[in-house]
């Protein structure tokens, strides 16, 4: 039992460490084309449904791709600034991945909050059920069983 618990704790710790590494590590230096591909894959084509600017061949997507490439080539703006430039012109719907600030942050925080609430409720329910588990039979229960068994054996002997 104790070993099982330690395995679970170790797994949780490992998951936490890996997630922290994944969230904080900086990748190898991107080439300009990598940056363009990465930025355009975060942007939705404004005239298509569900396609990224990276994938789409629509003229509007091509124009955005060209503009992103121009800004990356100029080297004057960071990735965030380029995304903001496009967002300011086409609106928030051009972002395929919602921002983690303002009202958009609800998209990220609500599922986590719902998960935490659901897990807490489940833990509470399991605890309640385990508390209400029937214990050893009382003397009264044993007496009732004995009576019932006696009645059955009487009926069998009469039959």
């Amino acid at each position: 039992m104790k070993t099982k618990k330690s395995i679970w704790i170790a797994m949780l710790l490992l998951t936490g460490v890996l997630m922290a590494i994944g969230a904080t590590r900086s990748g190898s230096p991107l080439t300009q084309q990598d940056r363009i591909d990465s930025l355009t894959s975060y942007l939705a084509c404004p005239t298509c449904s569900g396609e990224s600017v990276f994938v789409s061949r629509a003229p509007a997507a091509q124009a955005i791709r060209t503009e992103v490439a121009r800004q990356v080539g100029a080297g004057l703006r960071s990735d965030d600034e380029i995304i903001s430039y496009i967002e300011q012109r086409f609106g928030g719907q051009v972002l395929l991945v919602p921002r983690a600030t303002g009202l958009d942050s609800l998209v990220w925080s609500l599922p986590v909050a719902a998960l935490i609430i659901a897990i807490s409720l489940l833990v509470g329910a399991f605890a309640r059920w385990s508390r209400n588990k029937p214990g050893a039979p009382s003397a009264q229960d044993e007496k009732l069983v004995e009576q019932a068994l006696a009645e059955v054996s009487n009926k069998q002997s009469e039959g």
């Binding site: 005239t47 509007a60 503009e67 121009r70 300011q88 012109r89």
Partner: protein
């Protein structure tokens, strides 16, 4: 007892969210015909350095002091073709008044030859700007043509009209803006 309270709390939260959504729907401003919102409204117009289809240079900043109307256009787009007579009327009206607006067509994803043919057939002697790489369209956030934008003499974006123009809309909106922003 606990689950009964939980049901009440959850239903209360759901009801609150629904009422909130309804309230947002009620108070949100309906769009005024084809007049559309844009984060650029009230902001300085994006810098445009382009060339005309006759290979003349064009710099939007140099048009300060005049009302500027930009019409994003493609000769194969049906709404663009439909609204063209209205733009011709608008250009004629503005040409006749003293502080008339300058109308420019921004050619979107179209060939110079097709544009020249279209204008020689349908009229319209105003300047046509090339936007071969779509930089002007992206700078204004134009995804579909036609779109029409009005920029005031101070270089601030004042109006965005998406889709096909209706009769008199551009004139009425420009007159309103002139009253509001001409000191």
């Amino acid at each position: 007892m606990f689950s009964k309270n939980l049901v009440k709390v959850v239903s209360g939260v759901v009801a609150f969210v629904l009422v909130l959504l309804l309230w947002v729907l009620i108070i949100s401003k309906p769009s005024d015909g084809q007049v559309a919102r844009s984060p650029l409204l009230g902001q300085p117009a994006p810098s445009i350095v382009a060339s005309t289809i006759d290979n003349q240079p064009f710099v939007l900043e140099r048009r300060k002091g005049s009302w500027v109307v930009l019409n994003f256009f493609n000769s194969t787009c049906v709404p663009c073709i439909n609204e063209h007579p209205l733009l011709v009327d608008f250009a004629n009206r503005e040409f006749e008044i003293s502080n008339g607006a300058e109308l420019y067509t921004v050619v979107n994803d179209d060939s110079d030859i097709a544009v020249r043919e279209f204008f020689s057939k349908n009229g319209g002697s105003w300047t046509k700007l090339k936007d071969d790489n779509g930089a002007i369209a992206v700078a204004f956030g134009v995804a579909r043509v036609p779109e029409t934008w009005i920029i005031d003499p101070n270089g601030l974006v004042r109006l965005r009209v998406t889709g096909e123009l209706s009769e008199g809309l551009l004139e009425a909106q420009l007159d309103k803006l002139r009253e509001e922003f001409t000191s």
